[in-house]
Homo-oligomer: 768 residues x 2
């Protein structure tokens, strides 16, 4: 744990007291988002201390030029960068002519709260300016889930010890830059600026990608309890900055308030020529509803989300806060409405990883959305990849594959590969398997088979073709091998016969062939269409099957485990626990070659496969693998502890599972990896959810039957959550000596509890 | 072969006719250098067509910031870049007010010649300007070997069809940039500019590295056969440009001539404050000698170089031209006078590879200098690394090695690592072995053992320490393994147990221990000093020996060959000859992952080891390895064909050896790799020399005895060369049915010819 300043609270993230060293961390942790846009918790007023400014728009990116020292054929031409968008939260404040700035003021009191229950962010502080004036400020901000082009701020100032001339200038600033800017490119071009008495906007477009964005604002200013309306005394309209200045003389103890309605309208959703008008309309309507109504609607929307997605834990406030923070962030990041959008590893909380889509979505995030939302949301995530199939085929072709083989990108914004480390871009090909596993997982859970004939099978065929071509027949081994890959454990590069990759390759082919037969048998129209468009042949399927049937898997008789890759046992198998503390994390202390030749595992690799295909391994086998690999795992990826937690639960090692759980659920709040300043780890938050639902509660689907094997950490009184399973809503509550399941919606169904088949009716049923 | 425009000629490189598409290629091929500086064959007068401007100063570099997408611990902070230095060759010419520019003129006649025998470069052309004036130009240029801060140009113009006003402005331009500039950094800062009636200079310093350089010129202008002196009518002195303008009215058929003496004085050789004065002095002295005298001295210096280094070939003009071009370039690049300098892969002919030092020097270049020069030259090359031992130790420490272990850099300018691909920087560690092999090779050939107690042993100990620490004990194999390396074949990365690397590691340790004993026995003072400074212990040597004795080597019983690395036989071993032509070179057609998992070998790897340690293998073993690896080798490194040529000679496959020889000797002249525009492949030129001396002539040292096994390609009448062996100069002439050896200098010695021991006296001896 690297920090411990967040107040334990079941429903809110709270910081008390002002510490400039925590500003960037809190900017990440108090981020807000609504699926369409999001922003770091930067201050509205001027702040000249260290800060990381960020406001982001879903789906808007810039193709930053890829430059590497030593170009390799097949590298992408560009790297998709999430752009810091024009700042609309800004309100410049002057008190008796002096700029309000917490960096130069004495901060007498400071508190901020991210209210996760209702979806707003509030900051209260009292500051003493150099000119001796004390002001008390309250700023509340929200991004509407209901009206996703709209955000609102209520910013109130009270002079505490004197009356004061207060000048407030809500503004929009399009002269922003990216923290991670590699080159001196500019990203935004200003097309138009407007101001009126109470509103203003800046219309911009992104260079190269030509996204048009209008950043608009509508403001009001009132004075005192009687809410006397004030009008702006000045309209500022510069190149890339517009603002409205309100000047007031405020009596001691009186409050003046600016309400600012602002947000983005984007050419993804409007004609380019219409974004400015759309902005005006959206903001005017928001102002008519008013701030209180927006907050009320927001709370209602969140209530309905929490009703389904919440996990309650009693007896462990930090665990409760942790899981809610994770669920809250996932919902802020992705709403599931738009198949063009996806889930970047940092969501709207930072720039890192380019805001792009990784295999994290399929391998980690899908279950959360699948279980806590309507099935369309998960289906939209699958459809995102279906729409990008052509680009995945083009990508594979660029690398020398033929005949419609597809390689999905490691990192993407629009389907094109955007990563440029050869060992990842070209070699971390297991990602292709996650695409198919997600389809399988979706169908298994939702029972919605229609996705396969409609969309999924084409993806499967293209991926099967890839695996078939990517495998090599080894005369030496008389088996098919897959050479030169990087597995989930990125602390190994260019290895041969990564067990996880080989396993997925074989499975993808076999699952595809099975689905071809099934679609042929039951969905003849779809089958004919797919047969035509993919130009599939019987011979091709036979050739695939040959590869799948004779796939090679490295295995150690001595340890009775599958080996992560060929030659793994040549390493010195010293446990992580035997490393000196000052060597950890190894990625901060060791050179890359040393990491590579060490046995240390960044994130679950063989165990990732065992997690995904658990039903194909005996408990004994799972245990052997866990005991072999866990001691070598350094968990230097945020995606690692959750998988280990789930397997530890499966092995009934609840204390160990709990340790992993805490590490994953409070990763950002407690800043385990010393990097929360850069943003939060959004995709791994879904892993936290899995640690409870699939881990402690042991939720599985076996032969179309939902089953639970509920366990509970000794630190917890009880925990409960809901699942949306095939048109039923079930609430599962686990207590130390049993489980209660309530069928809240839908028809009765049979489920397995601790291996025993039970029928759940509408009424409450208790199982001990 | 990609081009065929260079005229076959035994002593000159000649281009006839003007083709703008050949300009950049010829700029590389006609480059001149004198060890201290060098320049591409850019035109003196304005040229607005496509060109690659380059003028370089040995040892002057800029530490360009290393930036990569994904930083790895241990990467160097900077990449040493050879700098394009201020241009001193420029002479702007106007004819009746119109700029002379071959890009805009009609070129009626054009010829250039690089005279390798005498060391000068001449260009003749007749151009018709847009204004109708035809001018005939002759420009001769040289960089003095004798006075290595001085170059000279004689530039003559004759108006052919009319009299004309001719204005000539010899100038210096410090406003130059690098072609390969990654960033917008500027590299040079101008400190001072001067002009007088007949001279001028610009004194600059490099940013960051603070090298001070004065670029000076001294010019004269004469008219007509009577050589009437003219004076400059204007002195131009701008920020980073100085020039002297001569304006003349020249009668039809008369010639006006500018002679320009110019060059660099550098703070490597002078006090910083004295470079300007030193420049003035050097150039004034050169002007007093005069152009003709400089040319005469140059021819004499080259005559003495050629006397020793020449290889004559009869019956094959292209082969003769090729080998002389290689020998000429090697001598232009490195004179052997200065232990701070070394041999960049492109010499002074381009910017690529940063002008830095690679293992090419030790593995490929050393023999050429060792055999054709006095021993000090080769010793200076070894000393270069000895002086950098501290930095090699610091480099290893940065990567986690301890106790004075050294890892020499892959690329360096001053001993610090300057390369930033992890698979090379951290993993291509076999380079460390080449450092030791070079010492062994030097001592073996020159008989100068003193280098080892004086300098070499410290290097050996540091390298032995590295290998000891870099090896891992594999319980699985019960052997020491070396994991995660890149061998000489860079088409494999992060492999385990590269045969070549493991072999060198074992050899380095054993050779080191042997030398420790020898130095202990015979050089006690040195031994005591080394024992003290290195803090070596007996136990340490025992630990090293343990690793060396139990080193693992991958071997195939089936093929009876050592394998390039673990798992090599899992590949599909399709021969290069079975690849479609349009797939070659694979590095231009295949993605990196495809190259990596293919069996194709960029340059000799296992065979490199067999070449170096040939005496430890039977003829049968050599043949087996050659027949296994040669068909898989794509020779996409310029360093590859020479080694294959030597081994083919050893196997008496002379026709095959000849094919490799031609490819290597005319690599640049015929532009086999389609990249000569970027510069010539200087270091591989030494490989060409080896292909003849060690290949066809089969020169070896066995038990202190020089031996030859002379063979001759059927295309050749005869060939001969000299060697400087332990204070004897021998001339070896090979004819189809025998060999003649003349002892030109030194005492009689016993040598082996075709395995038969003979005594060579002063007189000529013939062996058939």
């Amino acid at each position: 744990m690297h920090q411990d300043y967040i107040q334990p609270n079941e429903w809110s993230i709270i910081e008390e007291g002002f510490d400039p060293h925590r500003v960037k961390s809190s900017e990440s942790l108090f981020s807000i988002g609504n699926g369409a846009m999001g922003q770091r918790a930067n201050f509205e007023e001027t702040y000249t201390g260290e800060t990381f400014q960020g406001s982001y728009i879903a789906g808007v990116y810039y193709p930053d030029k890829t430059r590497v020292g030593w170009w390799k054929n097949g590298y992408p031409e560009y790297f998709a960068k999430v752009l810091n968008a024009p700042n609309w939260i800004g309100i410049d404040v002057k008190i008796n002519g002096e700029v309000l700035d917490l960096h130069t003021s004495e901060v007498i009191h400071f508190r901020r709260e991210l209210n996760m229950k209702e979806g707003w962010y509030k900051r209260n502080f009292t500051a003493r300016l150099a000119n001796g004036v004390d002001v008390k400020v309250e700023a509340i901000r929200m991004l509407s889930l209901q009206y996703d082009e709209v955000g609102a701020i209520r910013y109130s100032i009270m002079p505490v010890n004197t009356s004061a001339d207060i000048q407030m200038t809500p503004y929009i600033d399009a002269g922003i830059t990216n923290e991670d800017s590699n080159w001196d490119d500019t990203f935004w071009e200003v097309l138009e600026t407007n101001t009126t008495m109470n509103s203003g906007s800046i219309t911009t477009k992104t260079m190269k990608t030509d996204f048009h964005v209008c950043t608009g604002m509508y403001s009001t200013c009132t004075l005192g309890a009687e809410e006397k309306q004030c009008t702006a005394s000045e309209q500022i309209n510069r190149d890339n900055y517009i603002g409205l200045t309100y000047g007031l003389t405020v009596d001691q103890g009186k409050t003046c308030t600016v309400e600012k309605y602002a947000g983005y309208t984007v050419s993804l959703n409007h004609q380019k020529s219409a974004v400015t008008e759309a902005s005006k309309k959206a903001l005017f309507e928001a102002s008519q509803l008013g701030f209180d109504q927006l907050i009320k609607t927001q709370a209602e929307t969140w209530a309905s989300i929490w009703n389904m997605a919440d996990i309650t834990i009693t007896g462990d406030v930090k665990a409760q806060q942790g899981i809610r923070f994770n669920i809250f962030q996932l919902n802020q990041t992705y709403s599931g409405k738009d198949t063009r959008l996806n889930i970047g590893p940092k969501g709207f909380t930072g720039e890192k990883y380019g805001g792009s889509t990784y295999w994290d979505t399929e391998a980690y995030c899908l279950p959360f959305y699948m279980v806590t939302k309507n099935p369309e949301v998960a289906r939209n995530l699958l459809t995102y990849r279906y729409h990008q199939l052509d680009k995945a085929i083009a990508n594979a072709k660029k690398l020398g594959f033929t005949n419609g083989a597809a390689l999905y990108p490691m990192v993407t914004m629009n389907g094109e590969e955007c990563h440029n480390e050869w060992e990842i871009t070209f070699e971390e090909i297991h990602r292709n398997g996650a695409m198919i596993f997600a389809i399988y997982n979706y169908v298994r859970y939702t029972g919605d088979y229609s996705y396969i004939p409609e969309k999924g099978l084409e993806v499967m065929i293209a991926v099967a073709r890839f695996w078939h071509q990517r495998a090599t027949f080894s005369e030496e081994k008389n088996k098919y091998v897959i050479l030169g890959v990087t597995g989930p454990n990125e602390y190994e590069n260019n290895i041969n016969n990564n067990y996880y990759t080989n396993y997925l390759a074989k499975w993808c082919i076999e699952y595809c062939i099975e689905q071809i037969h099934k679609v042929k048998a039951s969905y003849l129209t779809a089958y004919t269409r797919i047969w035509d468009t993919t130009k599939l042949t019987e011979e091709e399927c036979i050739a695939w099957q040959k590869v799948a049937s004779a796939m090679y898997f490295p295995y150690s008789e001595k340890y009775q485990v599958y080996l992560q890759q060929d030659g793994f046992l040549d390493k010195e198998l010293t446990k992580v626990s035997e490393l000196p503390d000052d060597q950890l994390p190894i990625n901060q202390h060791w050179s890359w070659d040393r990491i590579l030749r060490s046995p240390y595992i960044k994130q679950a690799d063989v165990l990732q496969g065992i997690y995904m295909f658990e039903d194909r391994f005996t408990q004994k086998e799972i245990e052997k693998h866990f005991d072999f690999y866990e001691p070598l795992t350094v968990h230097e990826s945020s995606l690692s502890p959750c998988v280990h937690s789930i397997i530890a639960s499966k092995l009934d090692r609840i204390a160990e599972a709990y340790t992993f759980y805490v590490r994953t659920s409070r990763l950002d709040l407690d800043d385990y990896n010393k990097e929360v300043e850069e943003g939060c780890h959004i995709t791994s938050m879904a892993g936290t959810w899995m640690s409870i639902v699939e881990g402690f509660a042991g939720m599985r689907i076996t032969n179309d039957t939902l089953s639970f094997t509920p366990r509970i950490p000794e630190q917890w009184g009880e925990y409960s959550f809901k699942v949306n399973f095939r048109e039923r809503i079930l609430k599962i509550s686990v207590v130390p000596d049993g489980v209660t399941i309530v069928l809240e919606k839908g028809q009765a169904l049979a489920i397995q509890i601790n291996g025993v088949l039970q029928t759940i009716e509408k009424s409450e049923v208790n199982y001990v």
